[in-house]
Amino acid sequence: MKIHIKNGRLIDPKTGTDATRDVFVADDKILTVGQAPAAFEPDHIIDASNLIVCPGLVDTSVRLREPGLEYKATLESEMNAAVAGGVTSFACPPDTDPPLDEPGLVEMLKHRARSLNQAHVYPVGALTLGLRGERLTEMAELHDAGCIVFGQPDGMMTNLRVLMQAMQYASTFGFSVWLNPQEKNLAYDGVAHDGEVATRLGLPAIPVCAETVAISNIILLAKVVDVHIHLCRISSAEGLAMVRTAKQQGVSITCDVSANHLHLSDMDIDYFDANCHVIPPLRSISDRDALRLGLQDGTIDAICSDHAPVDEDAKMLPFGQAEIGATGVELLLSLTLKYGLERKRPLIEVLAAITTKPATVLGINAGHLSPGAAADLCIFDPESYWKVTVSALRSQGKNTPFLGMEVPGKVRYTLVNGNIVYQSQP
């Protein structure tokens, strides 16, 4: 199918383009941008007047809950949610049940995802068997099955020798290692940031040093082992400062932040709002402000949704027992735009953090609109606000701290491989 997207404001952070340009799509590729190719006869015209045309979003963390946890969400519901949020490529962490630690599971997931013909799914392979932090997975085999990076999402493994060997082994094949920096023994039974709010509410606390000690260990090991490290979900000002220094020293390291942490702090827990039970915990206002600055100065490479759909019953429990996580893939664009508006940052800069930069982190050819690239696009109305409600969300998880809020940016069209996979009315 040939599609002519006309009159849109095209923003492509990779080339620094922000101008009114038409896009011409044929089959699954972008043919040209600006001038129509010779003898181009579109089968379909999308009028993007007053809309922004940008690369389809790339999200470094979307949980599909498959295999094993389908009562929380299904592949279908979450794939629908992703494209409704303009997300066309995403990584899914290996913390499924069982974890993504053997090739069959990964192949099955890739196959099931492909058959739905929606966003591109990039499973993050488990770094260790069962994510237990004891033995290495067959990373080369997992790579053949479709894993391009390897991670340990459930906090840091306590055995640093195994971590170092996992880094060495991954680096042998040129794989990046994705780690969620949280030292398990320091986090212990904590459920909230160690500060005034946790003290007031009597919630077991996770100190900032659970993050900084982990980052410190990771950086020291990364200096010895020549491996690219991606830190998933930075939450504190101090942790961020360590990453900034490491980058200045030339350590091969990137990091991301969840959209929740860009907007919220422990104050939002209010009277035990279980939707704010996320890991890493929402930290102080000054941490949040530091994260916003870290995004601006480039220390933070990407914003992700850290999408974690949770069934309602699992959140209808006292704060500490309520399941961890917030739904978010449909909020990624809106929360990123909201950040840009609040900080008065140019659109092209904030969109880079959810398109070209996460694509680079993930090592995939996506997140840009060059001729010849896959026709993955997000077309949205930046002026339109929508209210986050249970019925507005396609994800099976309705658990978000932003319920009831009005947020900017409504996705009008999502294209994956040149197919219109999502469309909404103005």
């Binding site: 160690d194 500060g195 005034e196 946790a198 003290t199 007031r200 509410l201 009597g202 919630l203 077991p204 606390a205 100190p207 104050m267 939002d268 209010d270 009277y271 035990f272 019953d313 209808m316 429990l317 006292p318 704060f319 500490g320 027992q321 701290p401």
Partner: protein
């Protein structure tokens, strides 16, 4: 995104008692004043008043407790309410029923009030948010968060013995980190205008930024108890010696156990309180617990009056 105080209705009248935090001094004083009228009742031959006749009160104890549950039960019976005790720890929860399922089932039996104790901070708030209007929730202790009726009976005791709050120095001693009693005491004391509230504990038993609750932090008894009017001891759970909070109960007693010698740092007329049950020889020496500065037994008596006051204010006719 901050909600209004979930304990107050739109007319700023008390509808649940979940924590002492954020309650206006006027409401705390109303509870203390109401309790004064019930102290007389408990001293009469016929100890019943008909304020809650026909009301159903469910004691929902998800955590074992004999003492607190009993005082709530006595308080409810003296107000002529029908009381039902549910020891959930050994019934529904073990069969997989969720907390809110249990509450829904009991609410369907025309409950008027739930008295809730739970090991998780925030459990009482969760129930209060869930029940239909007209059902009242009293928090009888949730995790490390709050135990408001204990704090109120402590305030009642202090007022009985010291008359005023605005000229007092109060010290709270012990495991502040894990203590819901300490948190509720701190909020009640600061709200009622106590100018100096101290906490005394080793650093492993203090939550971070506790000074933001309006207290002065001390790590030794000698300076912490100097010239104080009221001493509130906390119970030290035996489990604290299992982890790395403390090396031994002997060392704890040596440094933080209340002995006559340490008490001598306080003002001569200082009173000693303890929420019970006491660990003699761990946090308090028997000579102090049974001494003439101890008001620990009156605390228990006043506990019934306070719980009668809270229940009658929530669900009864205006007194």
């Amino acid at each position: 995104m901050i909600n209004r105080n979930p304990q107050l209705d739109s007319h700023r009248k008390l509808q649940h008692l979940l924590t002492t935090e954020g309650l206006p001094a006027a409401i705390l004083l109303q509870i203390l004043d109401t309790a004064e009228t019930f102290v007389g009742v408990t001293e009469r031959d016929v100890k019943k008043v008909p304020l809650l006749r026909g009301k159903s009160i469910f004691n929902l104890f998800f955590e074992p407790s004999t003492r607190t549950r009993t005082t709530f039960e006595i308080a409810a019976k003296r107000l002529s309410a029908d009381v039902f005790n549910l020891n959930i720890a050994v019934s529904a929860q073990t069969k997989g029923e969720t907390l809110l399922d249990t509450v829904d089932n009991l609410a369907a039996m025309d409950a008027d009030m739930f008295v809730v104790r739970h090991a998780q901070s925030g459990a009482a708030h969760l129930i209060a948010k869930h029940v239909r209007p007209g059902i009242h929730v009293i928090n009888a202790g949730d995790g490390r968060h709050a135990h408001p009726t204990q704090a109120l009976l402590d305030m009642f005791t202090i007022r009985r013995f010291k008359r005023e709050f605005h000229n007092l120095r109060v010290a709270i001693v012990g495991d502040i980190l894990h203590s819901r009693v300490a948190r509720s005491q701190i909020h009640a004391l600061t709200t009622l205008g106590v100018p100096e509230v101290r906490v005394v504990a080793p650093k492993t038993l203090l939550p971070s930024r506790v000074e933001r609750l309006g207290v002065h932090v001390f790590h030794d008894m000698k300076s912490g108890l100097k010239d104080i009017d009221v001493l509130m001891m906390l119970r030290l759970q035996k489990e604290r010696m299992q982890g790395a909070y403390l090396p031994s109960s002997e060392e704890y007693f040596k440094n933080y156990g209340l002995t006559p010698e340490k008490l001598s740092m306080a003002k001569p007329d200082a009173i000693v309180m303890h929420p019970g049950p006491m660990n003699r020889g761990v946090e308090i020496d028997s000579a102090v617990a049974d001494g003439n500065q101890s008001v620990i037994l009156p605390q228990v008596t006043f506990g019934i009056a306070i719980r009668m006051a809270v229940m009658s204010i929530l669900a009864g006719q205006p007194v």
